[in-house]
Symmetry: C2
Subunit: 90 residues, 2 copies
């Protein structure tokens, strides 16, 4: 397993993504990047907070980056969507 | 005006909060803290991104902190809610 892995947070229940991160850490990952776009951003923050407060107190928040992506849908003007990437470090 | 001010992002349209931040910067603020809780977190990221990409290119993202607050509603069990604080620096 690589030392750094990613979990993309979407519309599923928050515990799905918490479990995905826990699985990566238990598999030996030293860093997990929790990523999300648009409205899922608040869920990504929930994932990070639940992991470090409830499951893995030795996990720290590394870096938090925010950004903007341009989404091109067919027949529509391009739209900007915000992104977040939270690095969890064990 | 103090050198550091805060804008609490809630449920109003995102441009309301963008305007609030721009007003603080134009009034001389060197730092503006954009804060939000729960689902408004993604809107706070939108506010920060719109300000630096569309209005004030000299504004940088300083620190980004995430956390958890406990909300006590009458007659309900306490609930945890995630928070974010994005520091914009001019």
């Amino acid at each position: 397993m690589p030392e750094s892995s990613s979990v993309l947070v979407g519309r599923k229940p928050v515990m799905n993504y918490v479990l995905a991160c826990l699985t990566l850490f238990h598999g030996g990952a030293k860093e997990v990047n929790v990523k999300a776009r648009g409205r899922a951003i608040s869920r990504a923050v929930d994932v990070a907070e639940i992991i470090r407060h409830r499951f893995l107190p030795d996990v720290k928040i590394g870096n938090i980056n925010i950004g903007t992506e341009q989404i091109q849908s067919s027949g529509k003007a391009p739209a900007n969507i915000s992104t977040i990437e939270i690095t969890l470090v064990r």
